[in-house]
Assembly symmetry: C2
Homo-oligomer: 691 residues x 2
């Protein structure tokens, strides 16, 4: 429990019971607490830490060696089959994996390429023979490999990749080709230096038919000489904005022959005579099923982004409780940064969002484990999982970048020093916003799903009900347009400001407002797009494009609602009353900040009155000052030690310096040696003149 004197708002200090930091920490560790703690112990090992200022070649070498340490320490095999030395634990695997980001994001992502993408593709897309043949070498790093999906010309639109794998029945081989420059595989981890094999995604062509994207196991380099095998070319991507411990590069294939059996054939196979077969008849569904097995990449990026946000907030909030600047409240005492309203405004809503993202991630991880363990593995489960992963990954990776930047700026020049972590983490996490699916594209996938659910609901209703629903929606709109609802609400709001703020504090009200917004936005877009479906493709696309921004915003609103629900559900798992009170307030801050962020929508759609809207910001400011005394507890509950934070300004050094400075001035004032201030002399002279 932390109680800090706040000269700017003394009343806020003593009003609350404190937080049970240990219990809250347990709650955050979640279902895979043991794995997470083991992974954190591993991530505390200095041999795994990022060293700032290495050249990219040195950094690459270091990270490759670190992968070996992960293998030795059994840190990365949880998802693989028990028969091969793994433990078939999918949720635990991701929980452990994502914690590695705090050692070095390059290490996390390089490990992700090797085991999460390359190894997972063999595991999920291959048969048992493939697994037995290649997984042991992949697991122990004898086969460093690449996941060659993205091409220069096609990133998030995987279905349109142009690499071909054409079956030659005479030799019973596939022939891999890169038909033009835009089809080069690009940004491929392990491609520039280390990879001796790859899972290559290509259009499978046999007997003159293109069966769409499939995955092929392809040897890239001679394991001894590390020279490319015949027909394979590469280019080093060189320096990137971050993650420079990974050797990204390009790959191209010129008539590269591989055995027929190198097709990872779980969802589609070619017989020796060239005839194609698949357990999934629809090429579209087959494609999405194959890609769906790779959802764990998005899940683990989500978790890593949460972890990085936690580290950043712990560092920045620790510093903000020690650092003093400007003597606003007294002639001799400077104010601690976190006592400034603006500083609270900058950091505490990010803290609330980080908690929301953390609880939502835990729920996502459980869902992921349910699907991949086979416990709940229907088509709908998988679709839910993919939608959730896409929604959360977008919001959380952007949130991490915002948090890292705000923390860096909130720490001033100290925040810019590499030794304080923010800039380095931010540079590395930057690409999380566009890889494993560009966030903007992912949100459109989420929106598509929302629209599909919306029209499914229509399909289950008879036409009369549908007609009524539409009429109701129109009436609703009319009501808002005339401003009647707003005026009505306004009339009921004319009590004290306190009263109208109180209504927004109610969880039911928050939920209703957030949910209403999602439903209304989806319904509005759906209404506008009904036309699009009837039009020729180009006209339809134009109508769709005219609502692209609305669609993306609806998806974001949906994801925010789900995060709010996860946060609220987590409150039910807290038993300590003090903790529950503070955490409920933090959830309120999250909900209210969302409403404030979208306040224009609520106002122009008649969902909130002008008067009530005007009470929101001052009310949020009061919530902030009530949370202020618990800020340090709330970041301590993240459970990261000095070996994870590794930031000079999080060591208490600032408090020591501030204390030393205050002692110096205190002694100076007490002694007769100290110089007197010219301003005071002038003041005295003025006073004397008046007398």
């Amino acid at each position: 429990m932390t109680q800090t004197m706040n000269p700017l708002s003394p009343a806020a200090n003593n009003s609350d019971a404190g937080v049970d930091v240990a219990a809250l920490g347990e709650l955050l560790l979640g279902k895979w607490a043991d794995v997470r703690l083991a992974a954190r112990a591993l991530a505390g090992n200095p041999e795994l830490h990022k060293i700032e200022g290495l050249t990219h070649t040195e950094h690459r070498k270091r990270v490759f060696q670190q992968l070996g340490i992960l293998v030795q320490q059994n840190g990365v095999h949880r998802a693989f089959p028990t028969r091969l030395g793994g433990s078939d634990d999918h949720g635990g695997n991701v929980a452990g994996f994502e914690e590695l980001v705090i050692a070095d994001p390059s290490l996390q992502i390089k490990g992700g390429v090797q085991w999460g993408l390359f190894g997972s593709a063999v595991l999920h897309l291959g048969n048992q023979e493939h697994q037995d043949k290649w997984l042991p070498g992949i697991m122990n790093l004898d086969i460093p490999g690449s996941f060659a999906m993205t091409e220069i010309g096609h990133g998030s639109d995987v279905a349109s990749i142009a690499t071909t794998a054409t079956y030659d029945a005479s030799s019973q081989e596939f022939v891999i080709n890169t038909p033009f420059a835009a089809a080069w595989k690009e940004y491929i981890g392990n491609a520039a230096v280390d990879g001796i094999a790859a899972v290559v995604f290509a259009q499978l062509i046999t007997k003159g038919v293109n069966h769409g994207v499939h995955a092929f196991y392809v040897d890239l380099r001679d394991p001894k000489t590390k020279e490319f095998l015949p027909g394979i070319q590469g280019r080093d991507d060189n320096i990137k904005g971050g993650l420079n411990g990974i050797d990204n590069g390009r790959l191209a294939f010129d008539n590269v022959h591989i055995p027929r059996t190198n097709l990872l054939n779980r969802y589609g196979d070619v017989a020796p005579d060239g005839s194609y077969s698949s357990p999934i008849a629809s090429p579209g569904r087959r494609f999405f099923t194959m890609l769906g097995t790779l959802v764990q990449g998005r899940v683990s990026l989500n978790g890593a982004a949460v972890a990085a946000s936690k580290v950043a907030l712990k560092i920045a909030i620790q510093y903000a409780t020690e650092r003093r600047q400007f003597n606003a409240a007294s002639d001799t005492e400077e104010v601690v940064l976190l006592d400034y309203q603006r500083h609270q405004r900058r950091l505490l809503p990010l803290l609330a969002t980080t908690y929301a993202a953390a609880f939502a991630h835990e729920d996502l991880l459980v869902k992921f484990n349910d699907v991949f363990s086979g416990a709940h593995d229907t088509d709908e489960d998988r679709q839910d999982l993919e939608t959730l992963a896409a929604a959360y990954k977008s919001l959380t990776t952007w949130h991490a970048l915002e948090t890292l930047q705000e923390c860096r700026e909130a720490c001033g020049g100290a925040g810019f020093m590499a030794e304080n972590r923010f800039t380095s983490l931010r540079a590395d996490l930057d690409v999380y916003a566009t890889f494993e699916g560009d966030n903007t594209v992912l949100l459109q996938l989420v929106a598509k799903r929302l629209l599909a659910d919306y029209s499914k609901e229509f399909r289950n209703l008879d036409f009369g009900v549908l007609a009524r629903f539409v009429a109701g929606a129109a009436a609703d709109l009319t009501l808002n347009k005339t401003g009647l609802r707003q005026v009505a609400q306004f009339v009921s709001d004319t009590g004290s400001a306190q009263k109208s703020a109180k209504a927004l504090k109610d969880a039911g009200t928050q939920h209703q407002m957030l949910a209403d917004r999602v439903q209304t936005m989806v319904a509005e877009v759906a209404g506008a797009l009904k036309e699009a479906a009837k039009q020729p493709k180009d006209k339809g696309a134009q109508i769709f494009n005219d609502h692209q921004n609305d669609l993306i915003e609806a998806a974001r609103a949906h994801a925010e609602l789900l995060q709010w629900e996860s946060f609220t559900a987590a409150l039910g798992r807290i038993s300590d009353p003090g903790t529950k009170r503070v955490m409920t307030r933090l959830r309120d801050l999250f909900g209210l900040s969302l409403i404030e962020k979208h306040l224009d929508w609520y106002l122009m759609n008649g969902r909130i009155s002008m008067l009530r809207a005007r009470t929101l910001a001052p009310y949020i400011n009061r919530v902030l000052s009530k949370l202020r005394p618990h800020a340090l507890d709330l970041v301590d509950a993240f459970g990261y030690g000095p070996e994870h934070l590794r930031a000079t300004i999080a060591t208490g050094i600032e408090r020591e310096r501030q204390d030393e400075a205050r002692d110096y001035y205190r002694k100076l004032r007490a002694s007769s040696d100290g110089p007197i201030d010219e301003k005071i002399l002038i003041q005295r002279a003025k006073t004397a003149a008046k007398k």
Copy 2:
């Protein structure tokens, strides 16, 4: 003139006359066009370019050598006196200096430390003797030096720095001391390696009186051995988030004796006997006058942030007109990124803001030159200049970071490659948001000025008018609170959506809305703070703190209004009708985007009706699609060549790749060899079954 086929919005293509790129380019070059062009020619020199991936020690060496090239090329002496080889050209000096950011921001800032801070301090705070003694060596780099103002414990609060310079009349020397750890000079450029001298800011103490912060010329290192002189200690700041070509470090002083005459004594002097004198009686005013001479740092950061934003937008928009992704509108043609509504939403408002910032910067530069040339150099001119510089520097440096990040994400994985500039520029410019005054602190300075102007207005009015004003304001508020004004506006809005959007297109309406918001916000804060002035300091500070966020937002609103005014004034300098039409639309986009950003405020303060507010986003979308065909012209007018852009994706390579890919598929479709898509086979089978 660029006309691009847009399959998603074909109607938008032919409606506008084009932009006269060359004339618009001239306008942007502004008053110091020749200097700017010369500086760009210099910045195009490969010897001055940043090389990615150097270690910080290599980068530091390279940048120090580059400073020598700047000296040889006469690129950096424009502000210095003609008698010493300069040209007394302050505006031109900054115009040229800020363009160096496109070569390497480290070069710009290291040059800024040497000539803009260290040299400027000697120039503006010293006497002619000081200038003649030190400036030649500073100008030709014989004396690399530091500007030692910031301390670990005090960044933006310069008045509170703790380093002391105590006069010893017996030896006629000042004795410089660092009394505790927090008083170490920190983040000081040239301190870690190169600096052999420094201007050190310290509390001047003589005869037992502290006369506040003054500047002292102090030798740091032996020029030959580069060893610190006795009593001086340093520490290397090592790796930073960016600007690693600069050797930032810490400095501490232990009884370092310097001659009395090393006090830069323009605004305050100590006679041999220790008696203090100053041409400015008030210690507060003296302090602000001294610091005010250093305003050019903020001015030039503002210009550099504009330049970096221009480079980023040229690269990202070039790429967005070539890159294709997803075949939304046809089965065979993929859509160019910039034809997507969301992509327009991401990039074009940033483009509009960059133009606004560019025009505002030009006006600032003229103001700066007026003051420093002595043409308009009253106290009020200086205050205006400082307020403007603080306001613009905050908005523009944040804008540059936002622009660089949005451009990087809009280019996907390619945006993350260092060779495409975004990540590197962003890392370097990150610290612009907190150095030369933390943006958050600077906005509070702006707000203080707004409040002072507000109460000055009160001082000039008699009490009756004051009373009326307050009553009027209260009545105004009541009107809004009852929603009457809104309902009234709403009633007049009930025409077509077109009609209500049209009103917002009017420049007068935009101006009125932006100005009204500033006035209202300032008046509201002023009303709330009236209490604060009457209270004891701690209570007053608490009231002030409760409105800190509102204050900062009022300052931001003020700066946005000024940018809008600069943009609008610039329209008057355009004669070509096509250019004027497009640029007016871009100004509208800027104004409307500001109103959209603050739409919650306009709604809850009854300044816009719900109905009109709902037409805003669709109207902005229409403006975007009308600007879309001119986007490339608008970035081409920035006038940066390949030697400045140095980004692979801005070379046209993407168009070549896309063309090659489309040719390949076109030929494949035309030939009988191409594989047929499984989906088409299934479609055919279904059709056949139906027959």
